[in-house]
Symmetry: C2
Subunit: 123 residues, 2 copies
DNA sequence: TAAAAAAGTGATAATAGTTATCATAAATCG
DNA sequence: CGATTTATGATAACTATTATCACTTTTTTA
């Protein structure tokens, strides 16, 4: 993957936004400093980086994909009221992959846990 | 929720298909016996039933929603080669919701675990 | 270091999956 | 049964995302 300034600023924006932004949200932010950035470039790079394991693409939250610069094992909660995405760091499922493999014979390459409910602020 | 023949046949088709079908797949099957069934009716009813907890809507698998008549606690694996969806019955994450609640203060209402990899047949 | 090759970009069209609309039909209630 | 509520079918609309392609930037190489 060659260097590009666009990917550089996308990466930085993602690191600065702990909120697990969607492509649309990131685009709004990046447009301010990088007015020529194309939405296609943003999607292209987010996918490329996710495929390369440099970032994490979170799906199944609310229809849109969210992106996370934190690639360490953790899970995600989404508030069905305000839409906020919160990290869950419990490593409760640490041997889940292994258990699932022996149960099914499938080779587990990745997994994610998506939790839904109401966040503390919205209760 | 009033009775409707359409919802009746949708429910039956879902029970007969252990494969966690997508709306599109179900539509193809149902069209054979119910040629007037509208795709809108199918989506409408699948969503309604999922909201009512009668069935489970599985998202984050492959972009399309899959539907599951099995509402008991279990998780889902998708093969990235053949697209098959397999149940994972391990109750490894039984107290995950509770742990996540005490970690974050969020009220967990539901959660799903999505595993990805290669199934036994595709290896 | 300049030319050639490879990779990335921006603008926009296209796609896929799903939802909204609305006139009509079926189900339920009194 | 007649009135009211709820559901349906056809199709338009929407949203998030991907594809296309001429052009630009980056890397390679001679």
């Amino acid at each position: 993957m060659n260097y590009s300034r666009q990917r550089q600023v996308i990466t930085e924006a993602l690191e600065d936004n702990v909120v697990h932004p969607t492509a649309e949200y990131l685009y709004g932010i990046l447009k301010q400093t990088e007015p020529n950035l194309s939405l296609a470039t943003l999607y292209r790079n987010l996918n490329k980086m996710a495929d390369a394991g440099m970032i994490k693409k979170i799906e199944g939250l609310d229809g849109k994909a969210h992106y996370d610069h934190n690639t360490h094992e953790h899970y995600h909660f989404i508030c069905s009221k305000c839409g906020r995405v919160v990290d869950i760091n419990s490593n409760i499922a640490s041997n889940l992959a292994h258990e699932a493999e022996s149960e099914t014979g499938c080779k587990i390459e990745s997994y994610d846990i998506i939790l839904k409910g109401i966040c503390q602020d919205c209760r």
